[in-house]
C-alpha cells in the first residue's frame, strides 16, 4: 500500500463523472467527509470509499431527475410538433409580412412550484402519465445505484475487517 494514500488524488478527474448542475468542489468536500467518517487505510480502501460516494451522487441525481420530470409547471412541447407548427405559421404568413417575420423565442424554463401545495397533485399525476417511461427508467437506475452502494459498503467493511484481523497476532497455546 502506498504510504501517502491519503494524499493521492482520485482517479479520474471527477468532472468527467459529473453533470453541469453538479459541482466538483462539493464532490471533493464530500469525499473528504466520507474519508473522515469511514477512515479508509490505504489506496484500495480509499478508492472503495470514492465508489460509495459515486453511488450516492448517482442516487441523488436520479432523484433530482424524477423530481424534474414530475414538475407540474413544466410544459412539454415536442420538437417535431414545434417544427410543424412553425412550418404552418410560415405557410399561412401573408407575403407582405415576411420581412417582419421573427423567429419564435425559446420558451423560458419552468418555474419551481411552491412546496406543500396539495392542489398540484393532479398536475403531478398528469406529468407522471406523460413521462411514465422515463420515470420508470430513472426508478430502475435508482434501484441499481442503491444496490451498487450496498455492495460497495459491504466490500469496504470486508476489507477493513480483514485488515483488522491481520493486525491481531496469532494466539499462543500455553501448557
Amino acid at each position: 500500500m502506498p504510504k501517502d494514500a491519503a494524499t493521492l488524488s482520485h482517479l479520474p478527474n471527477p468532472s468527467r463523472l459529473l453533470l453541469a448542475d453538479e459541482c466538483a468542489e462539493e464532490y471533493d468536500a464530500l469525499l473528504a467527509d466520507y474519508c473522515a467518517d469511514m477512515r479508509p487505510a490505504g489506496a484500495l480502501e480509499r478508492r472503495q470509499v470514492e465508489l460509495i460516494l459515486r453511488c450516492d451522487v448517482d442516487i441523488d441525481r436520479q432523484r433530482r431527475m424524477i423530481a424534474q420530470r414530475l414538475n407540474p409547471l413544466e410544459r412539454e412541447e415536442t420538437r417535431g410538433a414545434q417544427m410543424l407548427a412553425e412550418w404552418h405559421r410560415r405557410a399561412l404568413l401573408h407575403p407582405n409580412s415576411e420581412a417582419a417575420w421573427e423567429e419564435p423565442e425559446e420558451p423560458a424554463p419552468a418555474p419551481t412550484p411552491p412546496g406543500g401545495d396539495a392542489r398540484l397533485t393532479p398536475l403531478i399525476a398528469r406529468q407522471y402519465g406523460r413521462h411514465r417511461e422515463n420515470v420508470t427508467l430513472h426508478q430502475r437506475e435508482l434501484d441499481a445505484a442503491e444496490r451498487r452502494r450496498r455492495q460497495a459498503i459491504e466490500l469496504l467493511f470486508r476489507m477493513q475487517d480483514r485488515r483488522r484481523r491481520a493486525d491481531i497476532p496469532d494466539a499462543e497455546v500455553v501448557g
Partner: protein, 159 residues
C-alpha cells in the same frame, strides 16, 4: 455476448481497451509504486492480479463517465438530424405537397423513435456500468485473496 449486443458495446466504445495511461495510473496506485521496467513481461501472480484490477478500474471509470453523460440525454442525435433534414424538405418550393405531407408525418413519427432510442441508450449505459462494477469487485477480491490473509467471501466471515 450476442452479436447485436457486442456491436452496441463496440459502437459506444465503453468496452474497448482503456488507455494505457489510465491503467498505469491505477496500477501505480494499487501497488503503491510504479512497476519496474521488465516486471510486466513476466508478472508474478500478485502483479498479474493487480494488473487485471487496474484494467477493471479504468474500465469502470470509463463506464461511469459514459453513464453520467447518458443521463440527461432525452433524444437521439442521429434521429434528430434526420428530423431536421425532413424539416428542410418542407420549405422547398419544388417539393410536391404529397411529399411534404409524408415528410410531416415522418417528423412526428421520428419524435417517438428518437425518445425511444435515447431511453434505450440510457438503459444500456446502466447495464454497462453494472457489469463494470461486478468485474471490478471480482478483480479486487482476487487481488486481495493473493495478499497473505484470506479474503472472506461475501457473508462468510471466518469464525
Amino acid at each position: 455476448m450476442a452479436g447485436r449486443a457486442k456491436d452496441n458495446a463496440r459502437r459506444h466504445g465503453v468496452r474497448a481497451a482503456p488507455p494505457s495511461d489510465d491503467v498505469g495510473a491505477h496500477l501505480t496506485r494499487i501497488l503503491g509504486r510504479a512497476p519496474q521496467p521488465g516486471e510486466l513481461d513476466a508478472p508474478t501472480p500478485r502483479l498479474a492480479a493487480a494488473l487485471r484490477l487496474a484494467d477493471c478500474e479504468a474500465r469502470l471509470d470509463r463506464a461511469h463517465a459514459h453513464y453520467a453523460a447518458a443521463q440527461p440525454r432525452d433524444r437521439h442525435g442521429d434521429l434528430d438530424h434526420l428530423q431536421e433534414i425532413l424539416e428542410d424538405l418542407l420549405y422547398f418550393d419544388w417539393v410536391e405537397d404529397g411529399a411534404k405531407r409524408e415528410a410531416a408525418a415522418r417528423i412526428l413519427r421520428l419524435e417517438h423513435v428518437s425518445k425511444f432510442y435515447a431511453r434505450h441508450e440510457r438503459r444500456l449505459a446502466g447495464r454497462y456500468l453494472g457489469e463494470a462494477h461486478s468485474a471490478r469487485d471480482r478483480a479486487l477480491e482476487d487481488y486481495l485473496g493473493l495478499g497473505g490473509a484470506p479474503f472472506p467471501k461475501q457473508g462468510k466471515y471466518p469464525a
